[in-house]
Subunit: 192 residues, 4 copies
């Protein structure tokens, strides 16, 4: 019961974040190709963030499937995740308007790093409530992707001050890495 | 289960896109008829896009009825559709502010063409998962409307550089063509 | 089934409209009383529209309770209602920024009149589907409120060019008239 | 039935308010540290309001669990609460843009005080409907937190004209006080 409402609320917030982001795509003044081209960097940033938020929704979807009871810790770990996700549109807009500037590119990485940490904490909160033998605990296993991603984000943040292109390449790489939904959970659920 | 949450998330995103579009109706400065008249092209563009998004919601609604199990491919085909739909408000605002300019009219057509393709791909993903004998597969049949619409959008995109009025007439034509919800699926569902 | 999704989608759209309206409350520049006072007319307009949208949500809620099956006509009558409701934020902002100007006050009345008509049409579509002996048909009865409201809106639209204060008084009057949820439906539902 | 839709609608509105607030985080012009630093006060205000809205969602979630039937009074008390919550983003933005100015700090306190009162009234409306012996009535008990909070808000509003820092400290204090979800209700629910 509480779990369904938690899932619905989270879905709602992520749906709003994902679509609100498009409001930052400021419609260009003028009706010619130059106006359209000036939108290109914002559009690239938008696509990247859209994919990230879709990945979060996707994996969050799978993770909540394994929850049987919601407690206060899970509620707050979830709100914490939503908070960091809610900063992505602002960072996306800033990076899009100042494409390849070091600081905005680094800050964008920070707004990817923080929800990754928050997602990890939510995972812990669920395992803590469900027990070490739960579906989620065994599905995560060593969780290589979950451990590598924050390192890659951190590297990208530092690299932004050397070459913003490299940072963006790393952001794309991590997104691609996660694009496949978490088969581990699906498999364990089927086997269990 | 997963299907319900997919439907709810998609509904949420479409509901937000459809209502967010109205934020692009910039309230005119001044309180006279001239201020109101300056809003007319934006309002026309808004009505057209509202109808298109309502059609998508409607048909998406019918299509998901036929799904029994959601897999990763369907999830991503659905996110892909939502991505293209999310660009409609920006294109609507650009066309409204530059009414009858060739490029914005053509771009608007492109933001209609892309979700049409994405919808087709989602249809394929569902048929792929449900099998060739599924309700959806037999309901779609030859799918004349689905095949003609992209051609009409493509024609409208080219025509925008000749006569934007013609393009808009084509956009209206396709909308009218789709206004009737997909009786084919309803009929097959009733018979099956 | 379809009915639940229709209700959820409508709720979503109304929830977004109602909260999006607050984005039109432009935060005043400056931090003194004058800045705050300049917000007063927009705030009055916001409260009025909030109440109207809450009334629509409320009555829509009651009306959908009586539906047993959703058909294409109901779907489109519902989208039609949502379209007109979606114009309320823009009209509210325009009236708030040009308080007591005749044209914005009249246009605001028009954006109240149109959803009233759309609501009436939705009611007809439901009765048409459910039959003359349905719960809704007997609950509506003569429907005095539903018939008087459009007349009062129309009067307010005309009066706006004489005295905008009178129009606003009429808008408030109709809102107060509807504030009590539709006991008729509740009563018939309990008796049936 | 009605209760589920009420919960869903309220969740929707709160989800939109919470995420819409981030739109007020105006992306800084320029790509350097100064631009980022200028965002700091708005970010602080945003975090504070995010926590408050999450607390309201959380406690509202628990409170609605105890409702068995929704009547007109509860519906309107709930809309009344949502109205006051909807003003928080505007007040947050104003306080963020005029950090430590007395009037915006006081007004922010007012937009916290009003939903606190509205929440209290909603509690009364539920107890009135459920009876003095209901789960909620016994769970609330003396409700110390609920009685102290409005006093602290009121004190903060007055103190804003002496020292805005003190007011903000009080706002943080009350938030911390509420961060723990309402164990009282959880406990009584478990025992009952």
């Amino acid at each position: 019961m509480g779990k369904d409402r938690l899932a619905a609320f989270s879905d709602g917030v992520i749906a709003i974040i994902i679509t609100m982001m498009v409001l930052e795509l400021k419609v260009p003044h003028g009706a010619d190709c130059a106006a359209l081209k000036s939108l290109a960097p914002s559009l690239v940033a938008y696509v990247l963030s859209f994919v990230y938020l879709a990945i979060y929704w996707n994996n969050h979807h799978h993770m909540l499937h394994t929850v049987t009871r919601v407690d206060g810790l899970i509620l707050w770990a979830n709100s914490h995740l939503l908070f960091w996700l809610s900063l992505i549109p602002a960072a996306t807009a800033w990076m899009g308007e100042n494409f390849l500037s070091p600081l905005p590119t680094a800050i964008y990485g920070a707004t990817l790093l923080m929800p990754a940490i928050a997602y990890f904490l939510l995972e812990r909160a669920i395992v803590h409530q469900q027990g070490r033998d739960s579906v989620l605990a065994s599905a995560i296993g060593r969780d290589l992707k979950g451990k590598i991603s924050p390192l890659l984000y951190a590297a990208a943040i530092v690299l932004a001050f050397v070459s913003p292109w490299l940072s963006i390449a790393l952001y794309v790489l991590v997104a691609v890495m996660w694009l496949i939904p978490d088969r581990r959970i699906e498999r364990v659920l089927r086997e269990g």
